[in-house]
């Protein structure tokens, strides 16, 4: 520990010996930017490659690739995008994905907000064990749930249904969502509600008009989280939606891979279209994402 300090001080003093303060700052800044740009490049490169492949003819994709976009631009075409709509059921799959995500988001936000309120505002026995049970279920991986869900859903006629798959997504998102809302309501001072009660408001009123508006940031974070779970889910959709017309996007994309032929262009076009909603969300709402994780603390 002392040793690392000595090294760090040595570097510091050497640097200050060589460079004046201002320039040292400059060097640091350039180094920081270099690291940032490199990291962003590594993170974005697959996205770039996906875009490039989505606008190239098949025989361009399956030959030794070139780095420079000149040949890419020369061969530019949107056949793959047309094809996913014309030859495939793409708009149906997109609709399925959106609808399933909406059902999951509405149910998860609703149930977790109510539960978060109840857990912070009402004292009852077994609360701690209830919380433990929820957190335990947060550890369940999708495959562990999807396999028995398949057996149960089949008997209940919930295979290939919007409700069936949404409930499966809720199983994954609700534990964390509930935990987040629980923690979030603890940051909402009960004093505001008490003030409302003093003025004659009922508990329902203070819940609706005081607690809910203050919990909105948490609800947004929960909604984004649930969206990510639902939009991402491959495992459960693969198992619980065997019927092609009911599939959501992730398992549907997998069907472009066939025994001797991989429809790369269509896969990449579909992937690009699937990446648009997450991209918009992450750009607009990154503060809410961080906020949610901050209060969730998980």
């Amino acid at each position: 520990m002392v040793f690392t300090d000595r090294i760090s001080n040595r570097i510091q003093s050497t640097l200050s010996g060589i460079l004046p303060y201002q320039e040292r700052l400059q060097v640091r800044k350039v180094a920081l930017y270099a690291v940032v740009v490199l990291t962003c490049a590594v993170m974005m490169f697959p996205m770039y490659w996906m875009l490039v492949a989505s606008v190239q003819p098949y025989d361009h994709i399956v030959r030794t690739p070139t780095w420079f976009p000149t040949q890419v631009l020369a061969a530019l075409q949107i056949d793959a995008y047309i094809s996913v709509f014309a030859d495939r059921n793409f708009e149906r799959w997109y609709f399925n994905s959106v609808l399933v995500a909406v059902i999951a988001i509405v149910s998860t936000v609703g149930a977790s907000t109510l539960a978060g309120y109840g857990l912070t505002r009402v004292q009852f026995r077994g609360r701690k064990n209830f919380a433990r049970l929820i957190l335990f279920s947060y550890m369940f991986p999708p495959i562990l749930l999807a396999f028995p869900q398949y057996q149960i859903w089949r008997r209940l006629g919930l295979l290939n249904s919007y409700i069936g798959i949404s409930v499966a997504h809720i199983a994954i998102s609700l534990p964390f969502a509930m935990w987040m809302m629980w923690k979030f309501f603890q940051t909402v001072p009960i004093a505001y509600e008490e003030a409302a009660w003093m003025n004659g408001a009922s508990q329902f009123h203070s819940f609706k008009d005081v607690a809910i508006p203050m919990a909105k940031p948490g609800m947004v974070a929960v909604a984004i989280f649930t969206f990510a779970v639902s939009w991402n889910d491959f495992t459960m959709a693969t198992i619980l939606l065997p019927d092609s017309s009911m599939q959501t996007l992730p398992p549907a994309v997998q069907t472009f891979v066939q025994q001797n032929y991989v429809y790369w262009g269509q896969i990449m076009a579909a992937s690009t279209l699937m990446s648009i909603p997450p991209f918009l969300l992450v750009y607009k709402l990154q503060e809410s994402i961080l906020e949610g994780f901050r209060t969730g603390g998980l």
């Binding site: 090294i7 697959p46 109510l114 009402v122 550890m139 999708p142 562990l144 609700l174 992937s271």
Partner: protein, 318 residues
Amino acid sequence: MSTLQDTVNNWFRIPKKSWDGLLESLFGDKKALIGLTVGPAALLMLFASFLPILWALNLSLYDAGALSPTWTWVGIENYIGVLNSPSYWNAFWRSVSFGFGSVALQLVIGVGTALMLSREFRGVVLARAMIFLPYLIPTVVVGMVFRLMLNGNYGIINVFLVDIGLINQPIGWLSSGDIALPTLIVANSWKFAIFITIMVLARLQSIPNEFYEAATMNGAGPLRKFRDITLPQIKGVILLTLLLRGIWMFNKFDIIYIMTTGGPGSATTTLPIYIFEVAFLDFKLGQAGAIAGTLFAFLGAGAIVYFVGFNPAEEVGR
């Protein structure tokens, strides 16, 4: 006119009022309030999560095939069969190495990226958006793009590595048994390290700036500040992430299935892939249930460590 209007208004007002009144009286009663708030979530979790788990545990005690409609009670025979089969243990150790490898790599990348993004610089919002994006991009997209980039014949990764002189000839990253699993770990970490980044970054942002100012006043260098302020503050979140991520990566199904379907051969058949094969390709439901049962036992062990080590419910007082 006015009477019609009144009538219409009354139609809407009366139900609304009684609805409000009903909710008000329900919220006023403590028992009803508990049921109304915690009830929906509890019912959803029971139906969507706990019932399926119990179902699988029950199933694991029967000889059940997809073709025969009747289940025959066999007790722990399925467990004995599963635990004695070498392919189970091979899958188990693959799960362990996938889990450990992924968590180690993700921790390094995740914490490093979080430290970088916690600084204030121009364009930090854009950089964050670019780096967070892979976390929200569907796994199937990530898996397919990496399959394209890692292809032995036309993958860009090979072109890059040959160009910079690291390898002499193209490698089939996902088609050779020895390197398929390490390749999966790297591709998987590209996406999931961002989870750690977000968690650590959220924590870093809540460290008061005064801590650092005070340390600077006392002449602490950057390394010392990291060791004495940053590290203790993020230690908890790192330990927690290690545990949760370890469990999740041990049980990861989607990206492995998408990229290799467990192949080549069974080089990347981890336990979750093994469950899938036993349940949906061999239709040995009872045995699949038994494998799920063992996974559940590992989760239970993880949960004990979690509750003893972190005592999450205690932390949330009130």
